[in-house]
């Protein structure tokens, strides 16, 4: 055996290094596993979702006369009727009514294809009949079928016809709901935190309130939905499914999170700053407003944005207050029926038509983009406004 005579040599060194290496491997592999789950999820969602941002259109020539103008379903031969979207045919009489000069002429349109044809063109599972497939291939070879950016997805509301279903009303619903949540939760939350942290006497009552706020932050969100249902809808009689009720319910849910994070931000302001203010004969309000708040602001903003980001992704409490409804038209006010992005995703994920799979994935991409941008804003704000000491 090779005896090491170096004075600094200790026999345990090998074991110790091995232990350290083992720990490092464990930690690294934990990160790798987590990252690969995330990567798999993102890859899967983006792979499934991105085709939904494209929609195929087919060129059709239609001879328009008085009779066909009122009954568009007879306009096309059987094969073309199977290819063209029913939703497009339905809107045709309206369009003809707006352009009466078309009557008696033959017009060329680029019409949306039906969802099944669209799926077939995207080489996805579909139930298109073989003779139609032949016809579609023929049209495609002639350049009569084009794939375009799917404007409908971003600018229409929900529909029972998959190719006509869009995310627009859910996005507007989310914006309105978040506005209500933000207007209610952020000022109340931050003011509560300022009161509790800077002004409230440190007694049993204050402690009781603080403990309960911490507990509220940990309550399952669906219970806030029940609370919203009981108070806002049943007691105050506000309209069901509205962004107002949804926003207020989410505000209840976000409040404790905002309060806790704002309190932490205030707590991190060095006591010496307050002492300096008192030493100069400043009032508590002057110190809080001009010296403590500017330092705590980035932390409070970050906390609020993260609480709102969580609220944007929240579904359960909104199901209870009726925001899971089928909403084809975007809400025009906070009182009208609305749905939100995660609720729309939930609805679509349960639809039987295959075309809704990619719609669901695309909607998830939109939601994730919004969430990631909000978190990025939070990070940027914190970096930008944090004061150095």
């Amino acid at each position: 055996m090779n005896q090491n005579n170096n004075y600094f040599h200790i026999p345990q060194i090998k074991k110790r290094n091995q232990k350290a290496a083992r720990f490092q491997i464990l930690a690294t592999s934990a990160i790798i596993v987590a990252m690969s789950f995330l990567a798999f999820f993102l890859f899967d969602i983006i792979g499934k979702g991105y085709p939904a941002f494209k929609q195929s259109y087919v060129k059709v020539e239609i001879h328009i006369d008085e009779e066909t103008a009122s009954n568009p379903y007879g306009l096309l031969d059987r094969e073309m009727t199977a290819i063209v979207s029913r939703a497009w045919l339905r809107t045709l009489p309206k369009e003809i009514g707006e352009n009466p000069q078309w009557i008696g002429t033959t017009q060329t349109f680029w019409a949306m294809t039906g969802a099944e044809i669209d799926q077939y063109l995207k080489s996805k599972p579909n139930r298109v009949k073989d003779n139609i497939k032949v016809k579609v291939d023929e049209l495609k070879a002639n350049g009569d079928i084009e794939s375009r950016f799917n404007i409908i997805f971003f600018f229409t509301g929900d529909s029972k016809i998959p190719e006509n279903a869009g995310f627009y009303s859910a996005m507007i619903g989310s914006v309105l709901t978040m506005l209500v949540t933000m207007i209610i939760a952020v000022p109340i939350g931050i003011m509560t935190a300022i009161y509790l942290e800077e002004f409230a006497p440190d007694n049993k009552f204050t402690q009781f309130i603080e403990v309960n706020i911490n507990n509220l932050a940990a309550i399952p969100s669906i219970l806030f939905g029940l609370l919203g249902l009981a108070i806002f809808i049943n007691f105050f009689g506000l309209p069901r499914s509205s962004a107002l009720v949804g926003g207020m319910t989410l505000a209840l849910m976000s409040l404790p999170i905002i309060i806790v994070s704002a309190k932490a931000a205030l707590k991190s302001v060095p006591e010496s700053i307050r002492q300096a203010g008192y030493g100069l004969g400043l009032t508590k309000w002057q110190i809080t407003r001009d010296h403590v708040l500017p330092i705590a602001m980035p932390g409070m903003l970050t906390g609020s944005i993260i609480a709102l980001a969580q609220a944007i992704g929240e579904t359960a409490p909104l199901i209870i207050v009726g925001m899971i409804a089928f909403v084809p038209d975007a809400p025009t006010s906070v009182m009208s029926a609305a749905t939100v992005m995660p609720a729309q995703i939930y609805t679509w994920s349960g639809m039987p038509e295959l075309a809704y799979i990619e719609k669901t994935a695309a909607a998830i991409i939109v939601l994730l983009t919004v969430l990631l941008s909000l978190n990025t804003i939070a990070i940027v704000l914190r970096k930008k406004f944090t004061k150095r000491f």
């Binding site: 006497p201 440190d202 060095p270 010496s272 700053i273 002492q275 300096a276 008192y278 030493g279 100069l280 004969g281 400043l282 009032t283 002057q286 001009d290 010296h291 500017p294 330092i295 004061k387 150095r388 000491f389």
Partner: protein, 254 residues
């Protein structure tokens, strides 16, 4: 020159909860003099200093009895405004604690809040004079807009002194103002204190006995919440009356 008592305290007692930290302090602090408080850690010298501008009010468990008068006005009278007391009695802390704002704003903020000056040239002048009095003007006059936290520790402490002066107090309390500073900055601040006593009454808590000997006109020795001895600095250091004072000064405990 006739010395006049600026601050008088009579039988001042203070408790933190059940713990008595000050056991009845009787002390006269003279106008336009530097008074140093010395004593071992936990002797109550900082606590007593913080009684003089009612900073101990901020500690909920602190309870105070007795009387402190400044120019004959009781500062613990329940009808007075504590903010007005602190305005008259400035404070400089152990760690330099400038606000994370510009040098200019650091000095100008409190005077503007107290309506001592109006925004504009009047305020600029006050900032300049305060920084000059604190011996900082030459070093920072070209960077008044840069943050007060970006200058050196010694400069920050002088900025804090300038900030205190700008409120135009009568008394400046200094709680170990040089213990976080290097010897050269310490010397600058000590020279500054001697200059400032022309206009202000200065009370300084220090752990550094040489500092007390160098700058103070009067020295008070505290031990375990009692004021053991108070006299002219020379007498305290050369010929102390009490055994404890002598032991502390000669380094036998502390």
């Amino acid at each position: 020159m006739e010395t006049k008592a600026k601050i008088i305290s009579r039988d001042l007692k203070l408790w933190y909860g059940q713990n008595q930290a000050l056991n009845g302090i009787n002390l006269d602090i003279f106008e336009n003099k530097i008074t140093a408080f010395i004593g071992p850690s936990g002797c109550g010298k900082s606590t007593y200093l913080r009684c003089l501008n009612r900073m101990n009010d901020l500690i909920p468990i602190a309870k105070i009895e007795g009387k402190i008068e400044i120019d004959g006005h009781d500062i613990y009278d329940p009808d007075i405004d504590v903010v007005a007391v602190r305005k008259k009695i400035g404070m400089v802390f152990q760690q330099p604690n400038p606000f994370p704002k510009s040098i200019y704003e650091n000095v100008a903020y409190a005077p503007l809040m107290h309506d001592i000056v109006k925004k504009g040239s009047e305020c600029d002048e006050l900032v300049e004079n305060s920084l000059k009095s604190a011996g900082l003007w030459e070093e920072v006059k070209d960077k008044l807009k840069s943050p007060g936290t970006a200058i050196s520790g010694g400069q920050q402490q002088r900025l804090c002194i300038a900030r205190a002066i700008a409120v135009q107090p009568d008394v400046i309390l200094m709680d170990e103002p040089t213990s976080a500073l290097d010897p050269i900055s310490t010397q600058t601040i000590e020279n500054l204190m001697v200059e400032l006593k022309e206009k202000y009454t200065i009370v300084v808590v220090t752990h550094n006995m040489q500092q007390a000997a160098r700058v103070a006109d009067y020295t008070a020795f505290f031990h375990l919440g009692d004021l053991i001895e108070f006299n002219e600095t020379e007498k305290i250091f050369v010929n102390p009356t009490h055994k404890k004072t002598e032991d502390y000064i000669t380094g036998r405990f502390g």
